[in-house]
Structure formats: structure tokens, C-alpha cells
């Protein structure tokens, strides 16, 4: 078991990659075997992620150096700097990878029925596994260039998956927009990496964090990193592509795209806190993030209320919720240089933001899955054409209600736990942040009530009288996420102590990340 955990960072990346290449071969023999391979490999990866998380909670940061005689041999004999590809997994990386593993498993199970009538399913699962691999790689890499490579893998496979249902014209448009936006954002990331490499001759994040000077070029690189990742997460005013792409993808992929946004948020946090943490003008960058976060929350929710397409409606809500996370972590960054304020409310604001990422990663894919179930049943995304669906879709109705109450921050559901942590901590930084947050929560509830009434309430409409509830695997996919919501609802403290605080502390404690690489000379 110890050997398995020692090798787990690379296995977590390699297993989905190997599965992606095996799927076309096995798919030629048996579709059931192909589907089993997808689910079994994701279950095993989830097991490894949890085992690694447990190990990190006991033994601290986990290092894996590729090609070295020992995984922790980060700097080869005769060298002064790390030159090999290094995977570095701390509390923050493993927290995001837990989310990634759970949602990707739920999405794969949901897909078994959701795309059962589509052609090219083998290609779908191959791309899905590549996307999963890209996400894990992005979270675990300790190297900037590999961060770019994994970002590209996740983006390209994501674009292909958005455009997967070629029978619909809007999927092609959505996929095209996603790939253009992703390619430009990735190019800016590559350009920023180039600016750092030109000055410091290294791509290793820990080493760069040690030597970075915060020169004019470093500031330009920071802006490029920040805005490129902000664009990928859908931060307002860079969100315009977001509903165009998210609303047309298969619902299981939309769930994956939500956590891809989280992965890009992780990259932005890693850059701001770990790479630039020692030199950054924290109050200024913190306020930039907070200002964009406020805009994201408010514009996202007001646009959501306006929507009549169920998936666009949910996409705008995804944007709005991301604002809470940016604000929580932005406040933490703004007071990073002041230990007293950081201890008083900064750490809690960051914990609230990070906790909200976890909650969002469960209720948002769940809501997208229910949107996909509505599309599966009615054949339309147009809410004006729906009504009375609760009569036939009992499971979907209950699961939609769980998601709705959670996203709206209604107690006792998990959305409230993270929101109260954000509200009470950011209030001490500036009351307007809390006030805006509460208004956005009220509008969120109002808009979800509207959608609930339109789709589920009322008498059965004649055109939908003959249908039946969505297939079992789609319900199982939704139940996995609902179970996660219930668990976090009941045990918020357990989750915060075990996963959220270690993740926030990993961001704050930049020296631990640096020392894990540069201090590991044998």
C-alpha cells in the first residue's frame, strides 16, 4: 500500500491516459466492456486520490519526480536547480483532485444512459478520459510548462466534447467558441511562462517562487496569467462565451466543464499565492480579484433570472457562484501581507471561498444533470415549452430541489455553510461584499423558483403525458452528487477541518511548497 501511495500522483494521471487509449480497442470488441473500463478506472483513480489525501493529511506535501531514482530526488546530483518534471501535491492540489475525481465519476456514470442513443460513443469516452487526465495533471504539476500542456489537453478535449452531438448546429458553434477562447487564453499563459523563463531560466514553480523579483515583466506575466485563467473560469466581463459553450454540451460534459473552471481557478490561486506570494502587491491584486468577483456575482445572477433556456439559465448561475469564490479568496489575498488581519478573518474568508468551490462542484453539476434530464425527457431546453414534469419525473424533481436549495444557500444545506463563512468573514473586510452576496443569494432563489415552477409545477401537459423518468444510470450519477451534498450538509466541520483548512493553509504557507522541492536535496 505504501508503494502504491508513493506512486499515486503519477498513477492518477497515467490511469485515465492509459484508459483513453484502451477505450477505442476495447470498444471494437464490446461496448459493455468499454463502459466498464471507464467506470472501473475512474473508481480506482478516486480510491487513489482519497488514499493520497489521507497520506498528505498525515505526512504533508507529496513529491513525485519523474525519471529520478527516488520520487523525492527533486534536484539531481551536480545540479543547483530542479530540472526534471516534478509533481507536487499539497493540501490545495489534493482538495481540487478530490472534487475532480468525484464529479468525473458521476459524469461518466450519468453519460452511460445520457449519450446511449448517440453515435461515436467510443470517441466520447476517449475524450472524457483525456479531459480527466488533463485536469489531474493541471492540479498536480509543479512545473509551469506542464501546467500549460495539461491545460491544453483539458481544453481541446473539452471543446471536442462540447461539439460532440454533431446533429445540433449550436453545438458546433459552442465548441468553436470554446476552442478559440481556450487557445487564446492558453497562448497568453504560454507567453507569461516565456517571460518568466527568459528571466529566471527555470519552469519549476517552487524554484521560481524562490527567485522571482517582481520586475515589470513579472507584473505583465502576472496580469496575463490572472486574466487568462479568469477568462477560462468565466469571470465577468470575460464570461460571454461561457453560456454559449456550456448550454449546448451534453449535460455530463457541462458538469465536467464546471469543474474545469475550478481547475483554472486553482491555477490562478497557485500563481497568485505560491508563485508570486512572496513578492506580490497583495492588496492591489486582492482588490482586482474582489472587484471582478463582485461584478461576476451580480451580472451572473441578473442575467440568469432573464433566461428562458434551462441550460443557459444554469450557466449564468454557474458564473454567479464563481463570484463568491473569487471574493472569498480575493479577501484572503488582500490581507496576505498582514498576519493579524489574515488570522482574524483572512483565513476564514479563504476557507469560505474554497469551501464554496467544493459545494459548487456538487450542486452545480447536479443541477446541470437535472437540466440534461429535462432535455432527455422533453427534447427541448426551452423553459417556456415545459410544465407539469414533476408528475412523471419524481426523482429529477427531488434532486433539482436539493440542488436549488443548496445553490440558494437555504439552511441547512451545504451552500449555506460556505456562504455564512464567506459572509461573516468578508464583512469585516468591507460590508458591501456581504450585502451584495446576500442580494445575489435572494435573486438566485427567486430565479430557481421561477425555473422550478415553469418546468415542474402545474398540470401535466398533453405532449409530455406519455414519457417516463430518465434511465437509472442518469439517476445514479445525480444521486452520487446529491449524496455528497447531504454529507457536507451534515458534517460541515469535518469537511472544513479535514479538507478546507489544509487547502487554505497550503496557499498561505508558500515556504512549505518551496521547501518541499528545493529542500529535498539528498
Amino acid at each position: 500500500m505504501a508503494s502504491l501511495i508513493a506512486q499515486s500522483p503519477i498513477l492518477i494521471i497515467a490511469i485515465p491516459l492509459a484508459a483513453a487509449f484502451l477505450i477505442p480497442l476495447i470498444g471494437m470488441v464490446s461496448q459493455k466492456a468499454r463502459n466498464a473500463l471507464v467506470v472501473v478506472s475512474l473508481v480506482f483513480v478516486a480510491f487513489l486520490v482519497f488514499a493520497l489525501a489521507r497520506d498528505i493529511s498525515i505526512n504533508g506535501i507529496h513529491i513525485y519526480t519523474l525519471g529520478a531514482t527516488s520520487p523525492d530526488l527533486t534536484i539531481p546530483t551536480g545540479f543547483m536547480v530542479p530540472v526534471r518534471i516534478i509533481l507536487e501535491v499539497d493540501g490545495m492540489s489534493v482538495f481540487f483532485s478530490i472534487i475532480w475525481s468525484i464529479v468525473s465519476l458521476a459524469a461518466a456514470i450519468y453519460s452511460l444512459s445520457h449519450i446511449a442513443s448517440e453515435t461515436g460513443q467510443t470517441r466520447f469516452y476517449t475524450l472524457l478520459m483525456l479531459m480527466v487526465m488533463g485536469g489531474f495533471g493541471l492540479m498536480y504539476t509543479g512545473d509551469l510548462f506542464n501546467l500549460f500542456v495539461f491545460l491544453e489537453i483539458a481544453s481541446i478535449s473539452g471543446a471536442a466534447l462540447i461539439a460532440y452531438r454533431t446533429k445540433f448546429a449550436d453545438t458546433q458553434e459552442g465548441g468553436f467558441k470554446y476552442i478559440v477562447v481556450s487557445a487564446i487564453a492558453s497562448l497568453m499563459v504560454l507567453f507569461a511562462i516565456g517571460l518568466l523563463y527568459a528571466q529566471y531560466n527555470s519552469l519549476n514553480i517552487a524554484y521560481l517562487a524562490q527567485v522571482i523579483q517582481y520586475t515589470t515583466l513579472d507584473k505583465i506575466a502576472l496580469a496575463l496569467f490572472l486574466i487568462a485563467f479568469a477568462m477560462k473560469t468565466g469571470m465577468v466581463p470575460l464570461h460571454l462565451w461561457f453560456p454559449d459553450a456550456y448550454s449546448v454540451a451534453p449535460a455530463s460534459i457541462t458538469g465536467m466543464l464546471v469543474i474545469t473552471s475550478h481547475a483554472c481557478m486553482y491555477a490562478a490561486f497557485r500563481i497568485c499565492f505560491t508563485l508570486y506570494g512572496g513578492v506580490i502587491n497583495a492588496p492591489v491584486v486582492g482588490w482586482i480579484i474582489i472587484a471582478f468577483g463582485l461584478l461576476t456575482m451580480f451580472v451572473g445572477v441578473t442575467m440568469a433570472v432573464y433566461q428562458k433556456d434551462v441550460m443557459r439559465f444554469m450557466s449564468y448561475h454557474a458564473i454567479s457562484q464563481l463570484g463568491y469564490m473569487w471574493i472569498g479568496v480575493g479577501v484572503g489575498l488582500a490581507v496576505l501581507g498582514n498576519p493579524q488581519l489574515l488570522a482574524t478573518f483572512g483565513r476564514d474568508a479563504m476557507s469560505g471561498g474554497i469551501f464554496h468551490i467544493l459545494n459548487h462542484a456538487m450542486y452545480k453539476p447536479l443541477l446541470f444533470f437535472t437540466g440534461g434530464a429535462l432535455f432527455h425527457y422533453t427534447g427541448t431546453r426551452d423553459l417556456t415549452k415545459m410544465g407539469g414534469l414533476a408528475h412523471k419525473m419524481k426523482w429529477t424533481t427531488i434532486l433539482y430541489m436539493i440542488g436549488t436549495l443548496s445553490i440558494s444557500g437555504i439552511p441547512p444545506l451545504n451552500g449555506f455553510s460556505s456562504k455564512i463563512l464567506i459572509y461573516e468573514s468578508v464583512y469585516q473586510f468591507h460590508p458591501i461584499l456581504t450585502i451584495t452576496g446576500i442580494i445575489v443569494s435572494i435573486l438566485t432563489l427567486a430565479s430557481f423558483t421561477k425555473a422550478f415552477h415553469s418546468a415542474f409545477m402545474g398540470a401535466e401537459l398533453p405532449e409530455y403525458k406519455r414519457g417516463k423518468e430518465v434511465p437509472r444510470s442518469m439517476i445514479i450519477g445525480m444521486l452520487i452528487l446529491a449524496a455528497g451534498i447531504i454529507f457536507v450538509t451534515l458534517f460541515p466541520s469535518l469537511v472544513v477541518d479535514w479538507a478546507i483548512h489544509p487547502a487554505a493553509d497550503a496557499l498561505i504557507d508558500q515556504s512549505a511548497y518551496i521547501n518541499a522541492v528545493t529542500g529535498a536535496i539528498p
Partner: protein, 116 residues
């Protein structure tokens, strides 16, 4: 207690709320049980009275999404006219916003650096 989320000034215990919900549900059930027992489904007792007008069929009475919150959108018409403008659906415009955001962020960081 792993049920309680506390951070010095934040206190949150979901169990209290769950218990309160259960008590409220029991009370609702109790009041419902004490309701009018003479009610007969499917008779004239259950028919809707609409000032003597003919009542439409149940499926025609459903209020669709376009009719909900009409007053809200009417009041905020100017805000929505303003906010809908950038949502052109054209990818060139999206990239323009990206360039503008980068330019603003670079300028802020450089000016803040000079001030420091």
C-alpha cells in the same frame, strides 16, 4: 462535535435546523389532519370559481416562464438594455473584452508598482 461549524465568530449547526424542520413538518401534518373532512374530490366542491367565467383546462392555466417576474424586468428595463448589449454572440467581441481586461490589469499593476 463534527456537526458544528465554528470559526470564532461563525457558528453553524445543521442538526438544529433539521430538527426544527421536522418539528414544523409534524405541526403541518397535525393541522392538516384537523382540516375539513367533508371535502369530496371531483365534485362541485373542488371546482374553481372564476367570477362566473369559464375556467380554462388545467394545462392551459400553467403560468409559463415568460410571464413570471414581468414587473421586475419592466422596472429594470434600462439595466437589462445596458447589460444585454455586450452579449453579442460574436467571438471577436469576446476577445476584445479579454484584451481590454489584460490592458487594465497591467496598467493597474504597473501604476501600483510605481506608487509602492
Amino acid at each position: 462535535m463534527k456537526f458544528i461549524l465554528g470559526s470564532g465568530y461563525t457558528f453553524w449547526n445543521p442538526l438544529i435546523w433539521i430538527i426544527v424542520f421536522l418539528v414544523v413538518m409534524v405541526m403541518v401534518y397535525f393541522f392538516r389532519r384537523r382540516g375539513q373532512k367533508g371535502y369530496k374530490k371531483g365534485t362541485d366542491q373542488a371546482r374553481i370559481f372564476l367570477c362566473g367565467e369559464e375556467v380554462p383546462e388545467a394545462e392551459q392555466r400553467h403560468i409559463r416562464v415568460g410571464n413570471i417576474y414581468w414587473g421586475f424586468f419592466e422596472t429594470l428595463k434600462e439595466y437589462y438594455n445596458f447589460i444585454l448589449k455586450p452579449h453579442t454572440g460574436i467571438i471577436n467581441d469576446y476577445i476584445l473584452w479579454f484584451v481590454v481586461a489584460i490592458a487594465i490589469t497591467v496598467i493597474i499593476l504597473l501604476i501600483a508598482g510605481l506608487a509602492k
